[in-house]
């Protein structure tokens, strides 16, 4: 029982610092662990290639941009998106890992939403892909809940003091996507043209969509 508890609470006393045997060069570290797992047949190199290719080339912020553009042109879709984002996003075939429970929060002239994960790096993979470095940084994780206005200024975003900021800290398995406001002067634009205006940062709340010139 005592032994079980030691493992359970993460104090691995018998081999407390197994990771400390790893070489200091991270490339060699990965190489050693990867080769060991491959040789033991516990991972398959084709699976690794497929995973990396998927998130480098197929799943990324373009998906989210398509969701946002559709919501801008189709009021019924927007309604569904705000009520049940997981199902509405699945209509565009975006679903699954790290997006099992999606919630979309809408920016308005009165409310600006910002997404963060202070405890780790939770992020809606099916619509935004793998998080950028800044999203995973200590600076963003520690400061965004306490001083969101200063943080947004560093992204070049200056909000009117009258606008209410809502910061969503992803502490559970719900994943958030911001629905930014449609830029002015885009009334004649179609869905695919609009999607080009939707930046990744505008869907996290640290930016706005591109404006048309």
């Amino acid at each position: 029982m005592i032994e079980k508890k030691k493992i359970a609470d993460g104090h691995h006393h018998s081999h407390d610092h197994a990771h400390s045997h790893l070489p200091s060069d991270p490339e060699l570290r990965v190489k050693a662990v990867e080769t060991l797992l491959l040789n033991k047949g516990l991972i398959d190199s084709k699976t690794l290639d497929e995973l990396i290719d998927t998130y480098e080339n197929r799943i990324g912020p373009k998906n989210g941009a398509n969701v946002v553009a559709k919501a801008w042109v189709d009021p019924e879709y927007k309604k569904r998106l705000l009520i049940d984002a997981t199902s509405a996003i699945r209509e565009l075939s975006y679903q699954g890992r790290q997006g099992e429970n999606m919630v979309v929060v809408e920016n308005t002239p009165e409310i600006h939403n910002v997404i963060v994960c202070t405890l780790c790096s939770c992020y809606p993979w099916p619509v935004l892909g793998i998080p950028p470095t800044w999203y995973k940084s200590d600076e963003y994780r520690s400061r965004t809940v306490r001083e969101p206005r200063k943080v947004l200024l560093e992204f070049g975003l200056s909000l009117d003091p009258k606008v209410q900021i809502k910061v969503w800290d992803s502490t559970a398995e719900i994943r958030y996507l911001v629905l930014p406001m449609r830029p002015k002067g885009t009334e004649d634009m179609g869905e695919s043209e609009l999607a080009e205006l939707v930046t990744r940062n505008s869907m996290i709340g640290t930016g706005l969509p591109k404006e048309i010139k």
Binding site: I7, A8, D9, H12, H15, H17, H19, S20, L22, P23, L28, R29, V30, K31, V33, T35, L37, N39, L42, I43, D44, T47, L48, E50, L51, I52, E56, P61, G96, R97, Q98, G99, E100, N101, T118, L119, C120, I130, T133, W134, D138, R141, R143, V145, R146, E147, R149, V151, E154, F155, Q164, I165, K166, V167, W168, D169, A172, E173, N201, G207
Partner: protein
């Protein structure tokens, strides 16, 4: 009591590392993986996770349990890799001697010589042909259980003022320190979800009501709050919350 990963609200961190172009404008594009080893570390972590020997809460807790010195000094994917190695050893998927053998081969440049030609895949191993299917399904944490939520939307609640993990000292929890002992309002009820405080320790899924709770900025930061108008919303399980009269 908290661990280093629980950094919301702390002082001392500098500017956000926002990528900029030559004109000093914010750039949205960043390569998915900056270095090849980032991609490899990420992919082997996912692939090893698919063996089914641990869940997402266990792997998060292993990262959080890295010694503070390492947690601070390691970059993001170094944390992933270190936690993965500790998990692989604890779950006896690899031995310490094997690890040392491969590490010394990597160090002295002979690792390519020990790559096996004929590999027999373990029956649990995640195959490339199943990758899209598995990603598309994901790992839903909602459980269809007959548990009714105690709180209603609009109820005033106060969070536990110490780590709510009652089973394990220093155990996993998803109630950040900055939101402990604070008064908030139930914004929504999000069904019943696997409870990380138990699931991270092999104590079962124990699905419980999950709420989104809204806290006024001034409730969390007092006079330091940037605006009395702003709010912070967190997703919190029922045991993190105590009722307050409205």
């Amino acid at each position: 009591m908290s661990r280093l990963h629980d950094m919301g609200g702390r002082f001392g961190d500098g500017s956000i590392p926002v990528p900029r172009n030559d004109e000093n404008e914010v750039v949205n594009f960043e390569p998915t993986f900056k270095y090849d080893w980032h991609a490899r570390a990420w992919a082997i972590t996912l692939a090893a996770g698919a063996l089914g020997e641990w869940n997402i809460d266990v792997s998060r807790h292993y990262r959080e349990c890295l010694p503070p010195k390492d947690y601070i000094n390691f970059s993001y994917y170094e944390k992933w890799l270190a936690a993965l190695v500790n998990l692989l050893i604890d779950k006896e998927l690899i031995s310490l001697n094997e690890l040392k053998e491969y590490v010394s081969a990597a160090k002295n440049g002979t690792i390519d010589n020990i790559i096996e030609k004929e590999i027999i895949l373990d029956e649990r191993t995640w195959l490339a042909k199943d990758v899209q299917k598995t990603l598309g399904w994901g790992g839903p944490s909602i459980r269809d259980v007959n548990v009714s939520p105690v709180f209603n939307i609009g109820d005033k609640v106060i969070t536990q003022n110490y780590s709510p993990n009652k089973d394990i000292t220093g155990g996993h929890t998803r109630l950040p320190k900055y939101a402990m002992g604070r008064v908030g309002v139930i914004h929504s009820y999000n069904n019943n979800h696997v409870f990380p405080d138990k699931n991270a320790h092999g104590l079962g899924e124990n699905p419980l009501p999950l709420y989104t709770v809204e806290f006024k900025s001034s409730e969390l930061w007092g006079e330091l709050a940037e605006s009395q108008n702003d709010s912070i919303l967190l997703d919190l399980w029922e045991p993190y919350l105590k009722p307050l009269p409205n």
